[in-house]
Symmetry: C2
Subunit: 235 residues, 2 copies
DNA sequence: TAATTCTTAATTGGATCCAATATTATGCTT
DNA sequence: AAGCATAATATTGGATCCAATTAAGAATTA
């Protein structure tokens, strides 16, 4: 099968995200095209796309290099995610979700409950949880009926996972910090509750906190309890 | 001079934004390359870039077409701008601006005061004001020290100005609604005040309101007065 | 030995060519 | 006349070619 353009982008991206191409590595069109067994044209296009995604930087007349993403930058990207998904959650609450979306979110919450019910999380549980997590967020964004949110996020899609500063994102660490998943998942429940009850401002607030949780900067358990209490008393 | 790649993108973009290429117009590589006097290669790259910007959509095997941007979409884009610039203003307040940035903002505020002091705004005043406005916002974003904000906004850079639904953006209307500029400029003053005094939450809130003002959805004058009063009493 | 100049080579951007594919138009058949 | 099949055409994606630019290295000179 002939390698198509999209494949070139995705395989290069994978190589970067999995650390096969380390930060600072230099990439030129001809060597890369030979390595991938395609011509220069699709490689050129892929380089531009990856530059757009923030994974490569152009060195004029000296090719591209894999960007080293600083910790600050990743934090910044997550903060951006936070306000954008906060907006999404608020608008989803204000505009209301479809039956399908509501059901899908409920199912994902159950799935998360089930995954987290086991005594000790395996790496495969982690994988499953992360997929569930992504779908949950995607549905909230979709339910916002605001395509500009998705567009704005696309730029930050892969940046936080760049290999350079893996930060709290590598699996070993994630497993160690498994308890935080319970907190994050509880936030999912609360976001869901807020959205289906039309509590836009709260949905936004929780979602913004939730973004920070991904970074490992979570609030104290005390705050978590408070959140639960407040949630029981309202509507 | 040979037309370079960037020129192809910018001239196509200009044609779209100025309405020379209307929404729904179909574009193919070969006719476009002939029209612009370049080969297909830069046109192909330009099409992809403009698709990324949301100005073109791809019709598989039938070329591209100029996207018709709905009013809802523009509103969505402005809302996204609002939360992102709100984040920028908050972080600028929290992290503090450099001397240069602070001086630059102050100068822009004065420039705006001067422009708005005249009895009746001309079109050239409008032009000047908008340039000032853009620089003001750019500096706030820069002062956030969060490059992810700029990256996320780049996607929405031109969308609100797409010719299809000019909305409140055409000059005639803008001139008619000139009073709103005074309100918007007052918000600039308040944002500046909040940032230099480290009032992050307020800076964020005003900036988010401010985005709506661009759309013509401003709060009542009563609210504007209140804002002023609060601003006098604090710090 | 260090600096400067000149040459070489690497690299990209644009143009053109070729192949694959899907749409559209045309003509034939019922 | 309408529908279907087939042919022609439009269109893109990938490969290769050519030219322009500049970075890097070598050689020469002070």
């Amino acid at each position: 099968m002939q390698k198509t353009q999209l494949n070139v982008v995705t395989s290069l991206r994978q190589m970067i995200l999995e650390g096969e191409l380390k930060a600072g590595a230099r990439l030129a069109e001809i060597p890369t095209s030979e390595k991938l067994g395609v011509s220069r044209t699709p490689v050129r296009i892929a380089f531009r796309a990856l530059e757009q995604e923030g994974l490569l930087t152009k060195l004029p007349r000296r090719g591209y290099e894999v960007r080293s993403v600083s910790t600050e930058e990743i934090i910044g990207a997550v903060e951006v995610r936070g306000v954008l998904e906060g907006l999404a959650a608020r608008q989803a609450a204000e505009r209301g979700m479809s039956e399908d979306q509501q059901k899908a979110l409920a199912a994902l919450l159950e799935e998360g409950d089930r995954i987290l019910a086991v005594d000790e999380l395996t790496e495969s549980d982690l994988e499953q949880y992360q997929q569930m997590n992504k779908r949950f967020h995607d549905i909230v964004i979709e339910a916002s009926h605001n395509p500009a949110i998705h567009a704005a996020l696309s730029r930050n899609e892969h940046l936080p996972f760049a290999s350079a500063s893996a930060l709290a994102f590598d699996k070993a660490h994630m497993l160690r910090e498994a308890k935080r998943f319970e907190f994050a998942h509880m936030q999912h429940h609360h976001v869901y509750h807020a959205i289906v009850n039309g509590l836009g401002t709260r949905a936004e607030g929780i979602m913004r906190e939730h973004a920070n949780a991904t970074l490992g900067y979570i609030n104290s358990p005390r705050n978590a309890d408070q959140l639960t209490v407040i949630s029981e008393h309202d509507t």
